[in-house]
């Protein structure tokens, strides 16, 4: 059983276990810290975007830390929007806007942060939305498909499939697109197919209502991993069927 600690966040007293991430403690106490590359889908955070920075005062010293991965280890006082943090966060978002000018999410956060001057001389990556946070890669890896990865490094770093070719490992599940904080991963979908990462996948359609249940590849893989038979009807229809059945079974109870 870990020790319990009492800390203060923006003046509010909070209790947490030693080792908990500061961001989580704040969230739990109703204090929202802006963040981009942090997803609830994972326990392992990368602290790439630097938006979730806060100031921590402990042992008489103040320091700026990324709250998503900062483990609380002793009593401290936290400021999520001190003058220093406000300024640094505004600069971070201004830089991110230069990196991903097409992202509405970032633009909105930058506006909220008050904007920052002096970045006009920096190159804007026209048409870009990706901030290289790596969540998409993390998602794909956690599923075991590993179809995409970061490629190159430095200013040439990007996310793609090996050799930029359609990947046989991709199952078109959209986990990458869904976890992306800026909607940088494009895909197209019509009634019967989905195209993503340069591959077109056939959709598995519900036998009852005809709505898509995911790509055939993804449905097949999920069933295989769970060790069950592939579903032929979608979740909604399955629930309806189950509800019907229950109604018939129990209506006289």
């Amino acid at each position: 059983m870990s020790d319990l600690l009492n800390i203060t966040i923006d003046g509010r007293p909070c209790t947490c276990e030693a080792g908990e991430y500061l961001y989580d403690v704040a969230e739990r106490n109703g204090i929202h810290i802006p963040a981009l590359c942090r997803s609830d889908a994972f326990e392992d955070h990368r602290a790439c975007c630097r938006v979730c920075i806060v100031e921590v005062e402990e042992r008489g010293r103040r320091k700026v830390v990324t709250s998503c991965v900062y483990p609380v280890e002793r009593e401290c006082t936290v400021y999520t929007n001190s003058e220093k943090i406000a300024e640094e966060r505004a600069v971070t978002l201004a830089l991110l806007s230069k990196r991903a000018p097409e992202s509405e999410t970032i633009a909105a956060m930058a506006r909220e942060a008050g904007g920052a001057e002096g970045f006009d001389r920096l190159v804007t990556l026209d048409g870009e939305k990706c901030i290289l946070c790596g969540l998409c890669v993390q998602a794909c890896d956690s599923l075991g498909t590993g179809a995409i990865s970061t490629v190159n490094r430095g200013v040439d770093k990007m996310v793609s499939t090996p050799y930029d070719k359609p990947s046989a490992d991709c199952i078109g599940c959209l986990s990458c697109a869904n976890v992306c904080p800026t909607g940088a991963i494009e895909y197209a979908q019509d009634a019967t197919s989905r195209t993503i990462w340069n591959r077109t996948f056939e959709l598995a359609l519900c036998e009852r209502c005809g709505s898509p249940m995911g790509t055939k590849d993804a449905v097949h893989r999920a069933a295989q991993q769970a060790g069950v038979e592939e579903p032929r009807i979608c979740d909604a229809c399955r629930k309806r069927e189950l509800a019907d059945e229950m109604m018939h079974t129990y209506r006289y109870v």
Partner: protein, 165 residues
């Protein structure tokens, strides 16, 4: 080298290591040394052997400068771009090589004979600027020595050199 030869060489390289991901970089470096690049079939075979994704290895192959996915030239010219060499004119060496071979650092000549690259500090700072060709150090270089050095490699393919690989 025909396909069967290549495949068996790849297998030999890969199987020299235990099937553990920690040997991914070492195996790829061996492939780089053998083939002068990482062939796609090598990447695939290694991914299979280590039970990791192709994308993972592709990521490493594009991250580490020691690895390349396209064949490097027969002779690799490395211009040290450490601070001392930079101060003593490593850029001039690159400019001269561009004049002679028509390629920039990071490129391979059209005839596949030479690749030019900038490399990080080689540790011979006292003898800057330094250029290494096929593992042999050439130091305290003046721009007018470059064409002579390049020519000596062009005409003498069987040179017995101490390899830095």
């Amino acid at each position: 080298m025909n396909d069967t030869d290549r495949a068996s060489k790849i297998t030999a390289i890969i199987e020299a290591y235990p099937a553990d991901r920690r040997f991914a970089l070492a195996a790829m470096q061996d492939m780089q040394h053998e083939f002068n690049y990482i062939p796609e079939e090598g990447l695939v075979a290694l991914a299979d052997y280590l039970d990791c994704s192709k994308a993972h290895l592709y990521s490493m192959a594009t991250f580490y400068k020691a690895l390349s996915l396209t064949p490097k030239g027969e002779h690799i010219i490395k211009i040290c771009n450490g601070t001392a060499c930079h101060l003593r004119g490593s850029v001039n060496l690159a400019t001269e090589l561009k004049r002679i071979l028509d390629i920039e650092p990071g490129q391979t000549s059209a005839d596949g004979e030479f690749s030019v690259e900038y490399v990080n500090c080689l540790g011979s700072c006292a003898l800057a600027p330094v250029m290494v060709v096929d593992g042999v150090y050439h130091n305290k270089l003046k721009v007018d020595q470059i064409s002579g050095i390049v020519e000596s490699y062009r005409t003498d393919d069987s040179k017995d050199v101490v390899s830095n690989d």
